[in-house]
């Protein structure tokens, strides 16, 4: 009888607590999607598990794939009204989603303190704000580095700038020539680098001349002359046999990091976001890699801009899931439980307190990447104008016309004119 009473009391005691928990936190399931490689998926899964431990009533379903697959899938999901509640976002693609109101403004959650942004710098937040609305939040901050295979250059006796030294685009061209000449002397058929046709790299060049890719008004902020210069920069190198054949370069774009020319020491330099340093080090353990600065303008104008992955919340989710999604974003941005696993995977944490926190945990390689980001952002902590709708198509067009010059099907002048015209048309078509 005594025991029965005890059990009864215990049960009675539980009833109110259970119902209170149920009232406060109805169980909810949300979906998150990100891009990456196997290593990143492992990390993120651990992070999501940690989140579920902290918020037991929220279940996080995870969807992930490679960079290309991610964007293909996201486009289809968003179009079908079936977007993940929390989605990885990137400046390159952000315009396509944010200008079409596919993401939820986060101001409400920021004002109410659910998502804490007090530890983020103004510059970083500005980059995520459109018309006063915070449309996404950065995961980490990274910058592009000119990654150089120092071992290869030393063997040939090519002189390189020291770590942290500045060099101009003209200097870079001369290094490529010097490298090729010394490679021939040594009886080797090696080249310094490949053609660069990512529009973000051209943006770097344009900014070195005091221009930009897009202006605040959403129009083109560079001239057709700038494009001509960029196309001929590589065209000249090709004519002098200081850059590999066009078909070789074209083939590289279908390869993974491990199969690529740089990881296999076929070329000596590549431009990559510096947070990927650890991936290259893992591939090339016996090689000394140098994080070079991106070239400055030929008159010495320095430039850098922040890049990186972001989180956004889908505007089509219901309120309950959006609330849970906001909690998840706060966790991913601001909680040590998250950053002890995330580390430098996406760059230096936007939350400065977390940046300090991980600096004590990371490997030497990641510490180098952190140092590089800090050095670069000290130089010019630049944001860039938010790309307009149609930016994705312009990006493809830029590469396409550069290919025409690479294969010699079109002169630099023709290609640049055609690209510029095409870009203007795309912007006009997207304006309405």
């Amino acid at each position: 009888m005594k025991r029965f009473l005890a059990i009864l009391l215990a049960v009675l005691l539980l009833v109110p607590t259970v119902s209170v928990v149920a009232e406060e936190h109805e169980p909810v399931t949300i979906r998150i999607a990100w891009w990456g490689d196997t290593k990143r998926h492992e990390r993120y899964n651990t992070m999501m598990d940690a989140f579920q431990e902290m918020y037991p009533w929220i279940t996080v379903e995870r969807e992930y794939g490679t960079w290309n697959d991610y964007w293909d899938k996201l486009a289809t999901q968003v179009a079908g009204g079936n977007a993940p509640d929390v989605m990885g976002m990137h400046q390159q693609y952000a315009a396509d989603y944010i200008n079409r109101n596919a993401t939820l403004p986060l101001n409400e959650y920021i004002d109410s303190g659910v998502i804490d942004v007090n530890k983020m710098s103004e510059a970083v937040l500005d980059g995520c704000t459109v018309d006063g609305k915070v449309v996404m939040l950065p995961i980490g901050i990274t910058v592009t580095t000119f990654l150089i295979n120092k071992t290869m250059c030393d063997e040939l006796g090519v002189t390189l700038p020291e770590y942290g030294d500045m060099w101009s685009w003209a200097d870079l061209q001369n290094v490529a020539r010097d490298f090729r000449a010394k490679s021939k002397e040594a009886g080797k058929d090696l080249y310094f680098m490949l053609d660069r046709f990512a529009i973000n790299e051209f943006m770097n060049y344009a900014r070195g001349k005091g221009r930009d890719l897009y202006g605040e008004d959403g129009g083109l902020a560079f001239t057709v002359e700038d494009v001509k210069e960029w196309y001929s920069y590589f065209d000249d190198l090709r004519k002098e046999d200081c850059i590999p054949s066009a078909d070789y370069v074209s083939e590289q774009s279908t390869k993974t990091l491990e199969q690529g020319a740089f990881a296999n020491s076929e070329i000596a330099a590549i431009m990559v976001p510096v947070n990927q340093l650890y991936l290259y080090v893992a591939q090339m353990p016996d090689t000394e890699l140098l994080c070079g600065m991106m070239p400055t303008g030929n008159d010495g104008t320095k430039d850098a801009f922040l890049e990186g992955a972001h989180w956004a919340i889908s505007s089509t989710s219901d309120k309950k899931r959006q609330d849970a999604a906001a909690l998840l974003i706060d966790f991913l941005e601001n909680k040590k439980e998250n950053w002890k696993t995330m580390l430098m995977d996406q760059g230096v944490p936007a939350n400065q307190e977390m940046a300090e926190y991980i600096s004590t945990l990371v490997s030497d390689i990641d510490a180098r990447a952190i140092d590089f980001v800090n050095r670069t952002t000290e130089v010019v902590p630049g944001g860039f104008a938010y790309p307009p709708a149609g930016a994705t198509e312009i990006k493809a067009l830029f590469q396409e016309y550069q290919e025409y010059t690479m294969f010699g099907y079109s002169t630099v002048e023709e290609a640049a004119e055609a690209f510029y015209q095409g870009a203007l048309e795309i912007l006009a078509a997207n304006k309405k």
């Binding site: 079409r100 109101n101 078909d247 994705t392 396409e400 290919e403 294969f407």
Partner: protein, 302 residues
Amino acid sequence: MTQRIKSGVNLSQRRETRAGYLFLLPWLIGFFCLTVIPMIASLYFSFTSYDMMTDPVWVGLSNFSKIFTSDVKFQYSLRVTTTYVLLGVPLQLAFALLLAVIFKKDRPGIRFYRAAYYLPSLFGGSIAVAILWRQLFNKTGVINQMLAVIGIQGKNWINSPDTAIYTLISLLIWQFGASMVIFLSSLKQIPQDYYEAATIDGASRPRQFFSITLPLLTPMVFFNIVMQFINAFQAFTPAYIVSAGTGGPMNSTLFYTLNIYLQGFSYFKMGYACALAWILVALIGAFTGLIFGTSKKWVYYD
């Protein structure tokens, strides 16, 4: 009395009809939800500017007029796809017919060879084979290694704009198995007496082929041409994989379907992509109509 029987019949008839529709239901649902309704929707979207996230805006015929007047990508993709179809399909069928004739006679082990040559058509359209093709035809691929043996230095076939499409055409030709099997079965149905009579009349082997075999096979040739044309027009996977989704180098592998995909899902111009898709429908319809129209002139039925 009669009244009752009648209604009883009606009842069971009605019940059977209902059961019939019930059994049809899974197919009907699929047909309407996955085919008819999306097709009607896409026809509507083709007259709109639609980015899939905001509401479509009616623009009348402007998608179509842009396609026909100022879209270079449309022209490239049309050229690539027609080259692919007009070269690939006839060569594929010629190959299928040739091997069907070779494999007609029952010899020991022939079944193995038939199966072996049929196999590529089962997985030739897959992603794995497209990746394999990329390896075969690149600078250091097997094809160039074989060419090196006979002293020819091959180029980077799959990454050169002037040869990339031909590697994809060869992939199409390689998938001749399905047509071959159809040819084989109808070859066996040609009565042996025709050949005996021809032999007695002194007709040579090639003469027999062109005067007996080919005319009697024309219904099958007709069928194969129609099927393969329609399939080839809609090819997507090889180009998507080989060019990593770009249609490059220099648009040389920009299949029509790949262009539709890029316009719709990469550039968010779904209305425009729908218009392109309907032009493809019309094009395939016209091609098929043309083949049907001329068929009276060259297809012989016994």
